[in-house]
Symmetry: C2
Subunit: 192 residues, 2 copies
């Protein structure tokens, strides 16, 4: 197996174990066993368990940010942007549920610079929403809402890994549309 | 120290350790050390680490449910109910942040019956919101929203432990009001 495939396999298995049992409860030996490698051989592929957590935690949030920037570059209507951002987010949770669970639930397990970097990525992602809402406000299509309300909106998405069931009745786009519908209704300007 | 005080102290310290390091990463020996008890003496007060996690996880969600039922019994206007439910929820997160972090983040660490029971409590709490929104719909004050949207609303609150700072600029009632304002706007019936 090529080394890049091997590291993919290790990351994927680690995400699954961390999501199911918690990062703190999974040892390097257990992880090695799950991918059929001894501790020594495993350390040939990863530098530490925390580095692995960091890789898992940054990867999909970086992808969400990139993807969000693409949406913003292409889509000039703020309501359509919110619909697209919402679908994109739920699609990532559907497709990479273990990784997103780890990304949102285990951030406290990262230390120092790594913790800061993942927090910064969460902020960068949130900024895409802040900018989109600000644009809608500037175009008088949305009412202005507080930063705290935007944190609440992020929570709708960030918490969804806990209950979203990809095998459920609604597909990712449908769930994304329910969320964006709620958000867009909450942004309707008042009549006065 | 009376035994009931001692168990309170153990629960509180355990919640703090679980919130900061993750349930899986905290051993019984470490917990004993934090409260100045040997493993044997600690097991005089608790039956297992998981039982302790269960106690921490059920306590404040049970309190939220009780409190929510009181609000519903007293407050007949659906908008006022939502405001009161929202304030009550954020107040609990402000006052018992470690416990709420553990309750929402470590539910996967509970097994079998305990896991079911805590999931059931989360559902019971959500039901208070479902009933309140249904009442508003019946009174034609709210538009109807999907169950998935209500899950999203729960996420706003359930995720807040991660970023709410009781030492921040807004107090719990203010944050609660920002959230209920967002929710109430999202429930405004359409004109058609």
């Amino acid at each position: 197996m090529r080394s890049s495939n091997r590291i993919e396999e290790i990351r994927s298995k680690a995400a699954e174990l961390f999501a199911n049992h918690g990062y703190g409860a999974v040892g390097v030996a257990e992880l090695g066993e799950a991918v059929g490698l001894g501790k020594g051989a495993l350390y040939h592929h990863i530098s530490s368990k925390e580095e692995l957590l960091y890789d898992i935690s940054t990867r999909y949030i970086e992808r969400l940010i990139e993807n969000g920037r693409d949406i913003i570059a292409k889509e000039l209507d703020p309501s359509e942007r919110i619909k697209a951002l919402s679908r994109a987010m739920i699609n990532v949770v559907y497709r990479h549920r273990a990784e997103m669970t780890v990304c949102f639930r285990e951030i406290h397990s990262l230390s120092g610079e790594r913790h800061q970097r993942v927090s910064q990525l969460h902020n960068d992602y949130q900024q895409l929403w802040i900018d989109t809402i600000a644009m809608g406000v500037a175009q008088k299509k949305f009412r202005s809402i507080e930063r705290t309300a935007i944190k609440g909106i992020m929570g709708m998405f960030f918490y969804s890994f806990l209950w979203l069931k990809p095998e459920g009745a609604q597909n990712a786009d449908q769930v994304g549309d329910v969320f964006s519908d709620l958000i867009l209704h909450s942004l309707v300007p008042s009549n006065d």
